[in-house]
């Protein structure tokens, strides 16, 4: 087993961006080109390595014991018996590649799109730190490690929104307090996520103290943060019982805020609307996935019984989210805010798939995550570029964009179609299979409930189509309004093309040939679901 397979490869993928961040910081402020190139190189290296990882990954090898590959397990903080345990399986692999992919494209896009206050040095460094956090979350197999990466993501995004964000004044309804959008959004994002993380950490600790290494051949009475071992114990029903309910509740809060699920979603539209373009892209493409991924990786396998008893609630919230977000979208006048709300709806489908606890559903969830990553990321790129040119996001004023910028309009149409789940493009599989799974969820879950939810979800797809098409009509179609006379509205430029073309290709590729994702996920997902079935005994 070479150095690459023994954990170095993954560690490089994760930490190269962090190194890159320091490298960028080391470059004098004046040398912007150098900073950009450095950031680009590190992001590129990380992406290429993740592709190599994808090549090295053995897609057939599920039989031999551990599901996780290319990882390592080293002493880290022995005081709390937390270890540097990393590794990937079919579930995390697509997300890992996605995160490095989107990071690279974001760096390319920023090349000539630095929001005020300019300062590329800090901005690029933040992107790279963010990259480390995101990639790390997907490879971490130790709860503390996971938590650290999960939180590392928080600060860069906070500063991105707070410093480079939208400077317009907003007045909070009811409270009548006026503040700068970016500050409000940043603080809201930070507090919300921190609130969730606190509960999440509580849940982790509870798991830690209830774990017992004796059951997995360790010293009896010793505790562990190791996800793999905890999963094993969860299978034995170690955590079953009254406390498990609260543990799951704590974890649920932590993850649901990040997803975000229905009642905890209000940070998302503000954060997205206020964030700089790249911020929204990374937020939509990767950060939201951390929550759903955590459900699949931690909540479900470790607490299967609770997962089953919570599934109906989660599914209901998910579908409420779908309908609710679609309706909210219909009321939006701000393009970026509309896209943000649409994310809530799409993640609703993902959560619905997860809540069915079937392999089809979880497969749907994962391809849904990847698809949402590329599609909504793309939509935010477009929204950013358009507001960059028009200096407004009011759809009412943007009419006739198709005439002013044909290519941009075409791409917008293509992506919107993908987002409303057009078959043959990436968005379709997640939606359709989530519904497919909810027709026949895991044994023991209420069929009538889930079938009702399936129909409601199907209605949701209609609403989705509705707001997307009306958005297109407002933005793209019609005659351009007179106020754009004589504005220099250059169409898609070189850097934008460089950043977008790969995403468009990915959207089409995943849609036409979904095995790009399923080929990796299927076995792993079936393994997870078998674990759940075994634990519940169905």
């Amino acid at each position: 087993m070479g150095w690459f397979e023994s954990g170095w490869g993954l560690s490089l993928v994760v930490f190269l961006p962090m190194v890159g961040a320091f490298a960028v910081l080391a470059i004098p402020k004046a040398k912007e080109e150098a900073q950009k190139q450095t950031a680009f190189l590190f992001a590129l290296a990380s992406f290429l390595l993740s592709v190599v990882v994808a090549f090295q990954f053995d897609y057939g090898a599920l039989g031999d014991g551990s599901r996780y590959q290319l990882g390592t397990d080293l002493q880290w903080i022995s005081a709390i018996s937390s270890r540097y345990h990393i590794g990937i399986d079919g579930i995390s692999l697509p997300l890992l590649v996605l995160s490095t992919f989107v990071t690279l494209l974001s760096v390319i896009y920023t090349w000539n799109h630095f929001p005020d206050p300019h300062n590329p040095k800090a901005f690029l460094a933040l992107i790279l730190v963010l990259a480390t956090g995101m990639a790390g979350t997907f490879v971490a197999l130790d709860l503390i490690l996971f938590f650290v990466f999960f939180e590392v993501v928080l600060l860069p995004m906070y500063f991105m929104i707070g410093i480079w964000g939208d400077r317009n004044e907003v007045t909070l309804p009811v409270l009548r307090r006026t503040t700068e959008m970016r500050l409000y959004a940043a603080i809201k994002f930070f507090l919300f996520t921190l609130f969730g993380s606190a509960f999440m950490l509580l849940g982790f600790l509870a798991l830690f103290f209830r774990s017992d290494m004796g059951l997995v051949g360790g010293t009896p009475g010793a505790h562990t943060f190791d996800i793999e071992l905890l999963t094993e114990m969860g299978g034995m029903g170690v955590f079953a019982g009254g406390a498990a309910f609260w543990i799951f509740a704590a974890l649920f809060l932590g993850f649901a805020v990040k997803v975000p699920m229905f009642p905890f979603h209000t940070w998302l539209p503000d954060a997205h609307t206020a964030a700089p373009t790249v911020g929204s892209v990374l937020l939509a493409a990767i950060l939201l996935k951390l929550g759903t991924y955590a459900f699949v990786r931690i909540s479900l396998p470790i607490l299967p019984e609770e997962a089953e008893s919570w599934a109906p609630a989660i599914a209901i919230l998910a579908v409420i989210g779908i309908i609710y977000a679609s309706l909210a979208c219909l009321a939006q006048t701000d393009m970026k805010r509309l896209i943000a709300f649409s994310s809530v709806g799409h993640m609703g489908f993902v959560m619905l798939g997860i809540a069915t606890l079937t392999d089809i559903g979880i497969n749907a969830a994962i391809i849904g995550m990847v698809a949402h990553g590329v599609i909504t990321g793309m939509l935010f790129f477009l929204a950013g570029s358009m507001s960059h040119r028009y200096h407004t996001r009011e759809m009412a004023r943007l009419g006739g964009n198709q005439k002013l910028m044909p290519i941009m309009g075409g791409i917008l149409g293509f992506t919107a179609m993908a987002s409303l789940g057009l078959p043959g493009l990436a968005g379709f599989w997640g939606e359709f299979m989530a519904l497919l799974a909810s027709f026949n969820p895991l044994e023991g879950l209420s069929l009538s409930l889930f079938r009702t939810l399936m129909i409601l979800g199907a209605v949701g797809t209609v609403l989705t189509a509705g707001y997307m098409l009306w958005m297109l009509q407002k933005v793209n179609f019609g005659e351009p309004s007179a106020e754009w006379e004589g504005h220099d509205l250059h169409d898609v430029d070189r850097w934008e093309m460089a950043a977008w073309a790969p995403m468009l290709v990915a959207i089409l590729g995943i849609g036409v040939f979904p095995r790009i994702v399923f080929g990796a996920t299927n076995e792993a997902v079936i393994d997870v679901v078998d674990g759940i079935r075994a634990a519940i005994g169905v």
């Binding site: 897609y59 089809i360 749907a364 797809t461 609403l463 679901v529």
Partner: protein, 713 residues
């Protein structure tokens, strides 16, 4: 990535044959196994046109038409060889595994999604129609779209339109069918909204897309139910499950709802009442689009789908309860929409409503179990409806107006168009020996059989009375059809020209397709003269139902009485039309819509269905409901969030004031921060080094105290 490589060679190797009940038929050899080109080539070319069309000869037209020529050629060859020796072939390519089956007898097996191509009577017939009609329309389009804005883009999406339909009809499984289904939908969206500068055009496009999407949810749900309970989306597997018979299989249990849901999907695409509202508005697109959409590509999809799932609706114990609903919907559509055609001034809308009514015939036939008749009508209808639209297009091209009140007397100016149009209208009306006569007659016969005592419909469903009622409606519909077509012909080609300028005959590139289609409309009927020539029945119908003995009924001899009744109705329609519009040619303007007190306003407002959808559904959802949700979001949920933040700030300020009294500088430092209105950013921003230091040491002391106390106690 290894999996990608692995899957790549699997992709190459996975093409497998899965004939169903097809032992004694030829598998078509290379001809059938290569048929995957039929859907793939147009899809690829559509993309190529987007990127390279502008620089290609005739700015994309050549590429598009070449593609259609290829499809047409392939379709013709397949069609002929199928008529000689039935072909049943199914190729499949494994796309991905998406989990395990959870119902059916193979619980736990891998659940796969596939892409494939079906080569059997039904799909071959569709290849033929789409190919041939499509080719003629594409040729015609060269003349019609000359110098259009977005000329290239038009042909790209036009090719996508045809390609999507080919994906649909070549689908051997429900998922691929859905893919093609939606591709057709989006292509129609692009084409209907081709002139998106005007708001109403894009609105019409959105209307079409949304109405279809509503119906598609039905198809989704139906497909999900069927696929899950069979454990596979393959039609062959589904048919096996049906052939295995009803009883307590999952499929049988959900059959009714699945059948209903799938039929709702079909209602959307085939624009059945009450989901027909999108089709007339779809006239916003260029005329060739209407021609293709109405003749071959889009609206036939629903009928095709029912045909694909035919045994599911016929075999007892499955969705056969749905048959009654199908027949009723079909009958309603064919009659009500036929009446609507009477009051239209826009010639294209007349044709649109006539399409609706003809689709009603097809659906009725399907419901009645007359599989062959329904599809045969689809087949013939494709020719004369395309012909009529292209003729109307030529007229519009000449007079620059859609309204028949601006036309009249064009007979003299454009003879080709006139004669072909007349042939088309007669074929549509069902004047004997023209195509429409035969197919419509078979439908009537089929409905009559459904009412007769030996049909499963009347035995199991007790639907005899219903079927006979529908038969009457269908004959009345034949009358109405002839009536409004006569009106259209008269207002357009007879009397005096009421438009401006001097109209001129269309260029050759537009008239030749008309002639070709006219020939088709005249002769296509002879493919299936009951008892005489049964190519169509053999090729498309009977072979499909090996394993379902005597499932579908097709007339084996002409029922002269019924045929006479049908043609009598048609001729009567022509006659009445003539008596109304024929005599006084100058005052027809006053007469071109006759106003019967109650009926007329009802028809003018399209039975108020559109208004109901708009004011009853769409506006409330887009307006009040959406705004309410948004308000809830900002004022209720966010109130909690912001309220919490605000509360924190208040508390912080209180602490601040308290600490001002306090003498402790350390606390002062931190409190003066907390007091900053809850602003996190200002934490520790006094800038005074020593205050930091004080905090630092205080912290240290506390920590150490902790450790020490641990050590001691």
């Amino acid at each position: 990535m290894t999996h990608l490589l692995a899957s790549a060679d699997r992709l190459l190797l996975a093409a497998e044959e899965a004939g169903h009940g097809a032992e004694e038929f030829a598998d078509g050899g290379i001809l059938a196994s290569g048929a995957w080109l039929i859907p793939v080539v147009p899809m690829v070319v559509a993309f190529l046109i987007v990127f390279f069309g502008k620089r290609s000869p005739y700015k994309g037209w050549a590429m598009a038409t070449g593609t259609m020529a290829f499809v047409a050629l392939y379709g013709v060859v397949l069609f002929i060889s199928n008529l000689n020796q039935g072909i049943t072939y199914e190729g499949a390519v494994h796309l991905a595994d998406i989990g395990t089956q959870s119902l059916g007898e193979h619980v736990g097996d891998i659940f796969a999604i596939e892409w494939g191509w079906m080569v059997d009577g039904l799909s071959i017939m569709m290849y033929f129609v789409v190919g041939v009609v499509g080719l003629l329309v594409f040729i015609y389009a060269k003349g019609y779209m000359e110098g259009d804005v977005r000329h290239t883009w038009f042909f790209a999406s036009f090719t996508l339109f045809a390609g999507g339909m080919l994906v649909l009809v070549s689908a051997p499984n429900l998922i691929q069918l859905i893919v093609g289904w939606e591709l057709v939908g989006v292509a129609s969206y692009l084409l209907i909204g081709h002139y998106w500068e005007e708001h109403e055009n894009s609105s019409a496009a959105i209307k079409a897309f949304l109405v279809n999407k509503v119906a598609d949810t039905g198809l989704f749900i139906g497909a999900i139910i069927v696929g899950t309970s069979v454990g596979s989306f393959r039609f062959t597997d589904i048919m096996e499950a049906i052939a295995a018979g009803g009883g307590d299989t999952p499929l049988a249990r959900f059959a009714f709802w699945a059948g209903l849901a799938i039929f709702i999907g079909a209602m959307g695409k085939s624009a059945q009442f009450p989901l027909h509202v999108w089709l007339p508005d779809a006239m916003a697109g260029p005329t060739p689009v209407s021609a293709l959409m109405h003749a071959a590509t889009m609206v036939t999809a629903g009928v095709y789908l029912i045909g694909r799932m035919f045994p599911f609706y016929m075999v007892e114990g499955f969705a056969d309860e749905v048959r009654g609903i199908i027949i009723v919907i079909g009958a309603l559509t064919l009659f009500l929409t036929g009446l609507l055609a009477l009051v239209q001034d826009d010639i294209k809308r007349v044709l649109a409503y006539s399409t609706l009514s003809q689709l009603g015939y097809m659906v009725t036939a399907m419901g009645a179990g007359a599989y062959t008749a329904g599809l045969f009508h689809l087949f013939t209808h494709a020719f004369f409806k395309a012909l009529l639209f292209l003729g109307a297009g030529a007229v519009i091209h000449a007079v620059h107006s859609n309204n028949m009140s601006d036309m009249g007397g064009l007979r003299k100016y454009m003879p080709y168009t006139f004669w072909t149009f007349v042939i088309g209208s007669w074929a549509l009306a069902g004047i004997p020996v023209l195509a429409g006569f035969w197919s419509k007659d078979e439908i009537l016969a089929g409905v009559q059989f459904a009412g007769s005592s030996e049909s499963g419909f009347s035995i199991a469903q007790g639907g005899a009375g219903l079927a006979n009622l529908v038969l009457v409606v269908a004959i009345a519909g034949a009358f109405v059809t002839a009536f409004y077509m006569t009106r259209a012909v008269w207002l357009t080609f007879f009397g005096t020209y009421k438009g401006h300028g001097t109209p001129h005959e269309a260029p050759r590139v537009m008239t030749y397709p008309l002639v070709g289609l006219a020939a088709g409309s005249a002769l296509a009927g002879f493919l299936n003269v009951p008892g005489v020539t049964e190519f169509f029945t053999e090729g498309v119908g009977a072979r499909f139902f090996e394993g379902f003995g005597g499932l579908e009924h097709h007339v084996t001899s002409i029922d002269w009485a019924l045929a006479g009744l049908g043609s009598a109705a048609a001729i009567a329609g022509v006659a009445v039309g003539y008596t109304i519009w024929g005599p006084d040619r100058e005052t027809q303007q006053a007469r071109d819509t006759f106003s019967i007190p109650v009926l007329y306003p009802l028809l003018r407002h399209k039975y108020y269905i559109d208004d109901f959808y708009m004011d009853g559904v769409v506006r409330p959802v887009r307006g009040p409901l959406a705004r309410a949700v948004n308000w809830f979001n900002d004022h209720v949920i966010d109130l909690v969030v912001n309220g919490a933040g605000w509360l924190a700030a208040v508390v912080a300020r209180a602490v601040y004031f308290f600490d001002q009294r306090g003498i402790d500088g350390a606390i002062h430092a931190s409190a003066s921060v907390t007091g900053g209105g809850g602003g996190l950013l200002r934490l520790l921003q006094t800038g005074k080094v020593q205050q930091y230091a004080i905090l630092l040491f205080a912290g240290t002391v506390i920590l150490v105290a902790g450790f020490v106390s641990f050590a001691i106690f």
